[in-house]
Symmetry: C2
Amino acid sequence: MPQPLKIAVIAGDGIGPEVVGASLEVLKKVAPACGLTYETTDFPFSAAHFLATGHVLSDADIATLRGFDAILLGAVGGLPNDPRLAGGVIEKGILLKLRFELDQYINLRPVSLYPGIETPLKNKTAADIDFVCVRENTEDLYCGVGGFVRKGTSQEIASQTMIATRFGVERCIRYAFDLAKTRARKHLTLVHKTNVLTFAGDTWHRAFQEIAVEYDDVTTAYHHVDACCMFMVTKPEVYDVIVVPNMFGDIITDLGAAIAGGMGIASSGNLNPDGVAPGMFEPVHGSAPDIAGKNQANPIATIDSLGLLLRETGRIHANAAAVKAGERIGQAVRAATPRFAGKSLDRSGLGTDEIGQIVAD
Amino acid sequence: MPQPLKIAVIAGDGIGPEVVGASLEVLKKVAPACGLTYETTDFPFSAAHFLATGHVLSDADIATLRGFDAILLGAVGGLPNDPRLAGGVIEKGILLKLRFELDQYINLRPVSLYPGIETPLKNKTAADIDFVCVRENTEDLYCGVGGFVRKGTSQEIASQTMIATRFGVERCIRYAFDLAKTRARKHLTLVHKTNVLTFAGDTWHRAFQEIAVEYDDVTTAYHHVDACCMFMVTKPEVYDVIVVPNMFGDIITDLGAAIAGGMGIASSGNLNPDGVAPGMFEPVHGSAPDIAGKNQANPIATIDSLGLLLRETGRIHANAAAVKAGERIGQAVRAATPRFAGKSLDRSGLGTDEIGQIVAD
Ligand SMILES: CC(C)[C@H](C(=O)O)[C@@H](O)C(=O)O
Ligand SMILES: CC(C)[C@H](C(=O)O)[C@@H](O)C(=O)O
């Protein structure tokens, strides 16, 4: 028998604990049916924990987390205008620290309109909105490179530098091509802004073209990020797999979440496909403090993220039971969503626990 | 009698000459009725001109253009994959050169759903989609700051630097507050990504908060750019005026164009509100070489941009006849658009000349 899958759980703030709780109920049901054994360990990292202890996520915490197969994260973040949390202390201290320190260089974000879920777009169906974004997750404007000159004066200058390395870009593009190859349409679109970002964009574009030659069964396209946003609302059906740098990826995947029915639905995985460190799987939504504890949050995004966690971690570590459980959860979500037809976009209008139960059943 | 308004016309490539032609027909009709005198001078700057002569837009050309009150530009750009035009040679050589050299620090982009025009969003009407984006136009990732290390090797690094100065940010934010003050809702939203871009975002956020104190009749909000893209498709009615740095502004205004009925409709003005140099007014769309010369392009975006040109240039130079003509064109466009109800999104299904004629009438 394989070792039990070790999952670190960072439930986080606001609705985090509720949606994580609902997803773990689903796991409890699906695991035995797939022969999956697992154990979970809770960690307190969150805005609330930071405010109470001054502790965000230390290097020692990262070392501890490396001992796990994967991390499930609910949501971290406090009240929008809390001055004690200004400057992205939680985002940078927890989310980005995990992504960078654990070298989770792929941020995988499926954009699929599920049965029964309503898109805000006219005349678009599940057949039109079914793509995956592969967002580079360890470079770009997210490196924190920059600074100030004469801060606080009328002569203040701030700089913020986007970094693109051949190494970082190439491994991300290769992952995207490999993914595109497994899909029915086998089509990959690079999204950037090469006509203005003539340095970083050139590194991406050259790498993309050079690597494309090795994948002659995958068709390719290039779209400027501004045009991509337009296409996502007017003809999302042009996309199959998108590969995109970190900052633009942040933007287009939120738009993707919107067209696929909103934040209640959007799942994501931050992963290192080489398996050198655990991946971190999280809903795209935030901690939504306004509805926390009210049993109103839609747990689908977290349940689906848990499905991704099992499937991707299982693939990386050749754990067939985990892959099976992950796929089972994906199917269960698709089978359950028609029950939400006509319910509101982000918040399902059903109880968090009730939705979890529907999927579990 | 005031001097005639001197308009430099850069018709450009592809559909540029057609849409500019249609807009000048409208001007011919409206000017006498408003007591406006004007003269136009054609300039050949375009991708075609560059390919034929090797000449993009020189410093001497810029000096010549300074002698005009305003510039009307159709569209510049050649075929998408022409290697002779790689690296943004036309975009940087013409559009960005004009914006930067003429210090057109405001890029004004209205996002209004006109009567009869179809939005791709469900359940949204003209009342929901009616805002203006004030995009900073002379800083940010558009400065061209960056470079390569070990280009072409496996160790290649590219950097691309976003620049934000207090001077540049402040004048843009002040313009946006002044604009918000004139509108019914008096609401201004700053869009940035302060939780990740902790240098450039901080310069923007501090300036925004400090200047807000001077405008106590304007209510304010702050949205992250990813959330903004989501709101633009789920609840665009939250926006009245948006102020946004250059790169994010590029992205959200294309999305804005999409929700307001597509590129056939979206107008823009690049302007220096201090009047030290002429503004440049252009449709948001490109040169669309695939339909060039086929009398299929929708000239509304250019006609509306000409309306903006007259209104804004008239305001800056206290030319009441120009303001009146600009407003008249804006009204004529709104009166004409119901005629396009049910027609296709970007291309109106009516002839370019016919639409021009409808508006002119
Ligand atoms: C919270 C924030 C740092 C994060 C990001 O920008 O990556 C979020 O928007 C996301 O997309 O996961
Ligand atoms: C053509 C390009 C340089 C330009 C920009 O990025 O500003 C265009 O997309 C626009 O929005 O006017």
